[in-house]
């Protein structure tokens, strides 16, 4: 713990600083408040409206500022949870459908891809093997394979989800506590 003298010295020294001077430093400092990934809060109009609507329902008409605060925390965490779950569902669906999340680099360049396509078109049709229907995986099998391949990504998303879940859980408990206190006072 810094002493009062140290704190005063720190403040005095800090006043001498005028922030980053170089272009690289300014650029780096401009990203100080940047948050990445799913923890980014989107404050667009639609989101604010959804938060307000949820707060009203969770608080159940209460005007207690403390209760409203926790209701807002729960509402934001709930929307974050919904967003993370939507992302999980989307990436599993995309992987099952396309077999990859990013553009696969199958060929070194465009010319190589064109050569491969030309060779396919020039091949006589009789040489193509008929497809065995039993070898075509079902939708469920494709999704299972997608989940298997996406396990590392899903683990990261689950970590985000657990954080949002814990935040909402705590907030809902605080709301529940205040509601029961209010109800017992009314009784």
């Amino acid at each position: 713990m810094a002493s009062a003298r140290q704190i005063a010295a720190n403040r005095k020294n800090a006043r001498k600083s005028t922030g980053p001077r170089t272009r690289a430093g300014k650029q780096r400092a401009s990203r100080n408040a940047h948050r990445h990934g799913l923890s980014t809060q989107t404050d667009d109009g639609e989101n604010c409206e959804a938060v307000e609507s949820l707060v009203r329902r969770i608080a159940h008409g209460s005007t207690d500022q403390d209760l409203l605060h926790w209701a807002a925390v729960a509402a934001r965490a709930h929307l974050e949870l919904a967003r993370i779950r939507q992302v999980k569902c989307d990436i599993v669906g995309r992987m099952a459908r396309f077999g990859a999340l990013d553009k696969a680099a199958l060929f070194r360049n465009r010319a190589a891809a064109m050569r491969h396509l030309k060779s396919l078109f020039n091949k006589p049709l009789s040489k193509l093997k008929p497809v065995d229907p039993s070898s075509i995986p079902s939708e469920a099998e494709r999704e299972a394979e997608a989940v298997q391949r996406l396990l590392p990504e899903l683990r990261k998303l689950n970590r985000y989800e657990a954080r949002a879940y814990a935040g909402r859980d705590r907030a809902l408990c605080e709301v529940s506590l205040r509601v029961s206190k209010r109800d017992s006072q009314l009784d």
Binding site: Q86, Q148, Y165, R170
Partner: protein, 189 residues
């Protein structure tokens, strides 16, 4: 309960489901109704907890289905691996062909059955090998299943406390609840 949810946009948003293409909407609705019938949520907070339980139970069912599909799809590479061990002098192309046709051709299946018997093995050994090859993926899924189970139990406790007016501030159980979940998620103790 269906009409209550459908007529209330707030509740509909809480119970909004994220289904995969292979998921059955009918089954999801049946599960939701069965859980709501048991819990009978009384206010919005209880509806949020009920929706969380439904979400967790649905994910549990999905993951159990995926576990069995992952082991099934590992049967082909498992058979290939066994055949490589048993027929060390055979060409890789022949083994691949045998492994491919095992699942679609009865004659090949009988032939491979005979090879396995010669070495004191059965088709159950293919399943065992498939399970062994999928172990790390299954362990990952099992971790998630355990987490979902403990989350469900905790929500049921919250619901009970809420109804009895016994809700406690979470700092009292944070060390045992949420933190444990995060530690578990991070692969810790």
């Amino acid at each position: 309960m269906n009409s209550l949810i459908n007529n209330d946009p707030g509740l509909a948003a809480i119970y909004e489901e994220n289904l995969l293409v292979s998921d059955s909407q009918w089954r999801h609705t049946a599960l939701r109704n069965a859980i709501l019938e048991q819990l009978k949520p009384r206010d919005f907070i209880e509806h949020m907890w009920a929706a969380e339980i439904i979400q967790g139970e649905w994910e549990t069912l999905q993951l159990r289905r995926f576990k069995s599909l992952i082991v099934t799809s590992a049967r082909r590479p498992a058979l290939e691996n066994l055949l490589h061990l048993l027929l060390q002098n055979a060409r890789t192309g022949d083994i691949d062909d045998l492994a491919d046709r095992f699942f679609s051709n009865k004659g090949v299946r009988r032939k491979i059955g005979a090879i396995l018997r010669d070495f004191g093995l059965t088709e159950a050994n293919i399943d065992a090998e498939a399970f062994r090859q999928s172990l790390s993926d299954l362990a990952e899924i099992n971790r998630r299943l355990a987490e979902l189970g403990s989350r469900r139990d905790r929500i049921l406790q919250r619901l009970e406390d809420h109804r009895a007016g016994l809700a406690a501030p979470t700092y009292l159980d944070q060390g045992e609840g949420n933190d444990r979940e995060l530690r578990h998620e991070n692969g810790g103790d």
